[in-house]
């Protein structure tokens, strides 16, 4: 089926004239119309904009203008990335009806690469969550089992890619928000080195941790998409200005001679046996393929989650202060500026956002700063040192992406701490600013996908993709979700 092919394959067919960009778009839109009622992956489908972009892509190709590997490919954007003229809400009531006057840098780059933007995908409000249940516009569901969540916060992007209503999608990853939903939906999800993909136009959650990256159906597609969106951006002061690696060129290099470290701390209590056995089978596979496998201890990983839940909310408490009802978005009623702002925020933010804003405000308060935020920053430095030490001995680190497979919708909604534990394997890479990728490696007995995480040092994308590609080949994961189609 056309909606199931990879970007690489679709690109070949486009260039032989076998299919057009409009055909690819039709396939994605057709797929969306059959699955959205159950999945709710999208908040907005921009049919007109996508149609026009596909026609332009087709016309360009006919005229011999080729914008590269994403030319004519239908992709989706998480709804926390600004799209000029298309509603962007970050799944929050406070931004209901907000239409950005400008494109995020990634949006611009996708357009310049000839991609066709299908629409905006659902997320946990302001990317705060691990299940996409914290969306003001309704939960997204997992195509492998629609009683379960697709993970989060980029759950909409993950579900869309898994089900074929987009050939790839962008997500944002602050503590695992690309990799964890990729793992739970059986797709590839990758968080690049901090600073390599511009954050300009990404509605900020935690600025020092946020990073945009691709979700795709293959490791190669992830590399292709990454190479289209990354690069130095003068509009982002934290953007990396040096030379960028070229991971797509190293995919077939294999793992022979590489040293792979298995993180000791990311196993044991709380990890589902099916996840652990799939991961250890893959580790054996890498070993058989010629990699040297060693166990590595990074003791600070045990306190990474605590540090993350101080740093991220602290930054968020300031990042979300701009939503005050004065210039845009929802406005509450109030006779004074103070009540207007307070009501705007009380009405506009959902409970998880309010919880984190309060947590962050508290952590930054006079008298508590040193004990909370200051201490968390020290832990962050210690984690970075732990990584540096580990990478003296190994090329990459591996672990499960998530301790569990997709959980039932509603199961963790009333237990924030259980929800927060979903990101235990992914958070350290955010705190260090390092790249990491999740690759689907199999299904458990309930037919739910299991993800395998490969981590690498900063700007180590080439070797990371090299290992990820080997993992993909070893896993030979070809299953697709069987979703009972409901005509909408």
């Amino acid at each position: 089926m056309l909606h199931e092919v990879t970007i690489a394959e679709a690109g070949k067919r486009l260039r032989t004239g076998e299919v057009s960009s409009s055909d690819l778009l039709d396939a994605a839109l057709e797929r969306a119309s059959r699955t959205e009622a159950q999945l709710h992956a999208y908040l907005t489908i921009d049919r007109d904009g996508a149609r026009e972009a596909a026609l332009v892509a087709d016309a360009d190709l006919e005229d011999g203008i080729d914008h590269g590997p994403l030319h004519g490919i239908p992709v989706a954007l998480k709804d926390n990335m600004c799209t000029r003229g298309v509603e962007t809400t970050a799944s929050s009531q406070i931004l209901a009806g907000y239409i950005p006057p400008y494109d995020a840098t990634v949006t611009r780059k996708l357009r310049e690469a000839g991609a066709v933007i299908v629409g905006k995908t659902n997320l946990d409000e302001f990317a705060m969550g691990s299940s996409t249940e914290n969306s003001a516009y309704g939960t997204s569901y997992n195509p492998w089992d629609i009683s379960r969540v697709p993970g989060g916060s980029s759950g909409g992007s993950a579900a869309a890619v898994a089900v074929g209503s987009a050939f790839a999608a962008l997500g944002s990853d602050t503590g695992g928000s690309i990799r964890q939903p990729a793992s739970l939906t059986g797709v590839v999800g990758m968080k690049p080195t901090y600073g390599t993909v511009s954050r300009y136009g990404l509605i900020a959650f935690a600025s020092s941790l946020d990073q945009i990256g691709p979700l795709s159906r293959s490791v190669e597609d992830a590399a292709i998409t990454l190479e289209a969106i990354w690069g130095h951006d003068p509009l982002d002061a934290t953007s990396y200005a040096g030379d960028y690696p070229k991971p797509s060129a190293a995919l077939s290099n294999g793992v022979s001679g590489l040293k792979v470290g298995v993180v000791k701390e990311l196993a044991g209590d709380g990890y589902e046996p099916a996840v652990e056995s799939a991961v250890s089978a893959m580790v054996d596979g890498l070993s058989d393929a010629g990699a040297t496998v060693v166990k590595v201890s990074l003791p600070t990983f045990d306190i990474a989650l605590s540090a993350y839940y101080l740093i991220a909310p602290a930054e968020a408490s300031a990042n979300l202060a701009r939503f005050d009802g004065i210039r845009y978005g929802h406005r509450g009623e109030g006779a004074t500026t103070e009540t207007l702002m307070a009501r705007t925020r009380a009405e506009g933010f959902g409970p998880e956002v309010i919880r984190r804003v309060l947590l962050g405000t508290y952590a930054l308060s006079a008298g508590y700063y040193d004990a909370f935020y200051g201490q968390a920053q020290k832990v962050r430095s210690a984690i970075q040192e732990d990584f540096v030490r580990a990478y003296q001995d190994v090329d990459v680190l591996v672990s499960p992406t998530s301790p569990t497979v997709a959980f039932e919708a509603g199961a963790r909604v009333d237990d924030p701490l259980a929800m927060y534990l979903s990101d235990i394997c992914t958070i350290p890479s955010n705190l260090a600013g390092h790249p990491a990728i999740s690759i689907p490696i199999g299904l458990d007995t309930q037919n739910l996908p299991i993800g395998f995480q490969v981590m690498a040092p900063a700007l180590g994308e080439t070797i990371m993709f090299q290992v990820a590609s080997a993992v993909e080949n070893l896993a030979d994961f070809a299953e697709r979700p069987i979703l009972e189609e409901v005509a909408s």
Binding site: P100, A237, R322, D324, Y328
Partner: protein, 481 residues
């Protein structure tokens, strides 16, 4: 008991860079509200700040001019608070690692010079502007508030002094001296009435001899040097009165009411506000390398205080040196060129701060448009020194030059203002006057020296004022001896 005041001053300077601190919008207030705005300075979702290199160079320049150290690695912080004209809900500012620290400015009051230490100069961004409509423009009971974000994100430098200032006159002198430095650097319009330079004073009192600082009161809303001096003076007296009548001072912010001539308590907040400062994660630390600092240092112009010293050494008295050194650059440039060409310093300076400045004011001419150059001033001074033109006639010559009539000598000729310095031409007039005034000649012979003045006057009258009085005097004495 004898009291002394302890005063620290915080100065906010709006830099006149071409673009704002963190975006490309123009710094320009003469336009329609909300036209110099973009996603960044409006705080739209997803927008990110990128620092203005020129602004950072200018704060370094300010710091160096105020004898500060430039920090090698300086960090931006977020200062969090909610206000309608603060678009992001935080101001990008600096907290514990400002760009500049530990400088000083020397100020002179009543011929006594004291060194006021400067704690820090840091970089931040301005807020938008609120205009409250209805009920006299006050926020309480205003019918509505208009917001203009043209000012949002304009680079601001905050300069904080140590509490080294004593008395209102010194507060004023510090503020004026600091403004003079800013003006000299050309980094701000530095107009008090427009708020492009703003002064807040922290005032406390203590018994003379006490080491401990008293309760500090912040006084705001002074938009002239005079009101700064009045406000500080009032506040000192108010605090003394409170303490001497057994009252207790509260730490608070007070508003200067220019019309009533009093400071008034602003709504006091419960406790002190907590700005929850933390490192701005959207920006990386600024690194001010030694070569960069050196480069900026090379660009430092001569500062007013140094210039005053130089003028004094060249022979100007203290007042004249002071007035000239704070005169507009165009005025000083004419003086500098003329004196370099050999003109007498004192006379050249007198022309510039006297007649020339008066002419500019009278005609409403901008100093930049001054139609007088250095060589012309030198020539004007020279023709007076040479005796070709009298001092009073020289004013007419200047008038002519400024009106575009030509070079001073030509104007003097054309306006018939050249003194008669030719002995043969004067001889005849002198002889005539002596013949007409035998009594005066007799009186002189009898020892009444002062009668010579009368005779000089007669010669001047006969020559219609064109005779060189010095020469006439000399000739008369020769003839009478």
């Amino acid at each position: 008991m004898t009291w002394e005041s302890v005063i620290g001053i915080e100065v906010h300077v709006e830099l006149s860079t071409e673009s704002k601190m963190f975006c490309g919008c123009a710094v320009d207030f003469g336009v329609e509200p909300n036209t110099n705005v973009c996603p960044v300075c409006l705080g739209l979702p997803g927008a990110l700040p990128v620092p203005n290199r020129r602004a950072i160079e200018w704060i370094m320049l300010i710091g160096l001019a105020l004898n500060c150290e430039v920090t090698e690695r300086s960090v931006f912080h977020r200062k969090n608070y909610f206000y309608a004209d603060l678009p992001k809900g935080y101001q990008i500012s600096q907290f514990d690692i400002p760009v500049c620290h530990d400088g000083y400015l020397d100020v002179t009051v009543d011929a006594e010079t004291r060194r006021i230490r400067i704690e820090r100069a840091h970089m931040e961004e301005d807020t938008g502007k609120s205009t409250h409509v209805g009920h006299g423009g006050r926020i309480h009971a205003a019918e509505s508030t208009l917001l203009d974000f043209n000012r949002s994100g304009v680079p601001l430098v905050e300069i904080v002094s140590r509490p080294d200032i004593r008395g209102a006159a010194e507060a004023r002198a510090y503020a004026q001296g600091l403004r003079a430095v800013i003006v000299e650097l050309g980094v701000s319009d530095a107009r008090l009435e427009e708020g492009s330079i703003r002064f807040d004073a922290n005032v406390s009192i203590r018994a003379v001899g006490d080491e401990v600082l008293g309760t500090k009161v912040e006084v705001k809303n002074m938009n002239s040097f005079r009101s700064l001096e009045r406000a500080v003076d009032y506040e000192i007296e108010r605090q003394i009165a409170v303490v001497e009548t057994g009252g207790e001072l509260t730490q608070e912010t007070r508003h200067w009411d220019e019309e009533a001539g009093v400071t008034q308590s602003m709504r006091t907040k419960e406790g002190s506000s907590d700005y929850r400062y933390f490192t701005e994660p959207d920006l990386v630390p600024m690194v001010m390398s030694a070569p960069w600092v050196d480069e900026i240092k090379q660009g430092l112009p001569e500062l007013p205080a140094n210039r005053r010293d130089r003028y004094s050494k060249a022979g100007l008295d203290a007042d004249l040196a002071g007035v000239l050194s704070s005169s507009p650059a165009e005025i000083r440039a004419v003086y500098e060129t003329a004196t370099t060409a050999g003109a007498n310093h004192r006379r050249a300076a007198n022309w510039m701060v006297g007649e020339v400045t008066a002419w500019l004011r009278r005609t409403g001419t901008d100093p930049a448009e001054l139609p007088l150059d250095g060589p012309q001033l030198a020539e004007l001074v020279e023709i007076v020194d040479e005796g070709h033109v009298s001092s009073s006639a020289a004013k007419e010559v200047l008038e002519g030059v400024l009106s575009g009539e030509g070079q001073p000598r030509d104007v003097a000729k054309a306006r018939d203002l050249i003194q008669i310095s030719d002995v043969s031409a004067l001889d005849e007039i002198v002889a005539g006057v002596l013949a007409d005034n035998p009594e005066a000649v007799d009186s002189y012979a009898a020892g009444e020296q002062k009668v010579i003045g009368f005779l000089v006057g007669q010669v001047m009258r006969e020559s219609q004022g064109k005779a060189d009085p010095k020469l006439v005097n000399q000739l008369l004495r020769e003839k009478l001896s």
